[in-house]
Symmetry: C2
Subunit: 254 residues, 2 copies
């Protein structure tokens, strides 16, 4: 049995807590948070505390809080030589306090509150300084997911940035498409089958092979008409930059 | 029974031909193409011709060829008062030759050769100048799809541009993510669950609600680190522009 103290009560902490609750090999023995309100949903489910001095003994301390407060919090865990990990894509392992053994347990997914997530298919990127700790994190990851990746801090940053491209930025393009549809009284629903097909295609075919459209065909006449049709400056800038980038990609090939 | 002459043998023409072959209410009675090679896959399946003067009588003539040659071809159909439609997102209905009755039959999907597509969920945008023709196109669309939309030429252009954002541009972001992963020896596979989750989320939640990430949180420290980490100029430009656009979106709300 692996015992966990969870530090934080936000999206990632909550989803991890729920996932560990369903396993037989992991127990969250305590949840820490700096406010009482955050702890409310965990009362009656496990021990909770507002104070670092009340932290109990556990195999792993998982810090799941915003990036800019992770390092500070890691310095407040007054044990020595325990395994303390964070769940962030951005923070290098060596930024954690040196009082304890360091690790990273980064689930690569975009978590939305109140939306249940099946962890089975969520890749978990793990990193530790000691082999024994890597094994513990591997067991922890295996208890909730089938996709375990050993990723160092430099690679993790690349993964995090790539994730921003395929999640944050893609979602923003969905927003731009929503605006364009709304402006012309067309339902955004009309695009949903294409959106699903686009993402499903990439599972089997590379992005380079999947590319279609006027930019790929270098159809400047259609491109100019579109830029002209879009009157919104930001929409035009996004259209121009991505079109130019696609054109450059396929120019290289010639 | 609705009879069709299909003009063109590219991706859209081939996919439409295969879809109509499976219906009981539509028959493709002839396929036209300007080269013999294009007609080869249709031999033994229906009549084929290289010559406009051999075009036979049908209820609908579907022009499925590149945008820049649609109008020219429509002028070579020497009938009078037949229903002639194109399948393009970009060309307004009134650009078609006035010798015949005009219409549009635009399936909103990105077609890849050699990848079978189930038309059932593909939205088909139809437009006609006469009500009778609209009804014919509706029957035609219903024979292969469950999603029929009556969309005028101005709306269709908006749909087409929005489709470029959610398909062509999204796919290009997948390519940028592939480059970032490759550079740091991480498999792009690690992103696939996130890609699928991102597209599936938009089916139930608006893009505005779905947004997460450092740009949404206005986490300038993480943003600057990322821009610095990406050394490629194009990747940096895309990161900056989309981040700025996300920041502006959520600033408006305050």
């Amino acid at each position: 049995m692996i015992t966990i103290v969870l530090l934080g009560t936000g999206n990632v902490a909550t989803h991890l807590f729920n996932a560990f609750q369903k396993t037989e090999s992991v127990t969250v023995v305590q949840v820490y948070n700096r406010t009482k309100k955050g702890l409310l949903p965990f009362k009656n489910k496990t021990k909770t505390t507002l104070s670092f001095s009340d932290l109990i003994v556990a195999d792993v301390y998982i810090i799941a809080i915003p990036d800019d407060v992770i390092v500070g919090l890691s310095e407040k865990i007054f044990f020595k030589n325990r395994l303390v990990v964070h769940t962030s894509g951005s923070i290098a392992i060596d930024k954690l306090s040196s009082f304890n053994r360091k690790g990273v347990f980064y689930p690569l997914q975009s978590f939305t509150k109140n939306k249940t997530i099946c962890f089975k298919n969520i890749p978990i990127c793990i990193e530790a300084e000691q082999q024994k700790d890597e094994q513990t994190l591997q067991l922890l990851a295996k208890s909730i997911s089938e996709k375990i990746h050993f990723i160092n801090s430099k690679q993790r940053k690349a993964v995090h940035i790539a994730a921003i491209f395929v999640n944050n930025f893609v979602n923003h393009l969905y927003l731009k498409a929503t605006e364009i549809c709304n402006k012309h009284q067309v339902s955004f629903d009309i695009l949903k089958p294409l959106i699903l097909e686009t993402s499903q295609k990439i599972v089997h075919l590379s992005a380079k092979e999947s590319q279609t459209g006027p930019a790929k065909r270098n159809d400047q006449k259609v491109i100019d008409t579109h830029i002209n049709y879009l009157q919104d400056k930001t929409q035009q800038e996004i259209y121009k930059l991505l079109t130019q980038s696609i054109q450059n990609t396929y120019d290289d090939k010639l």
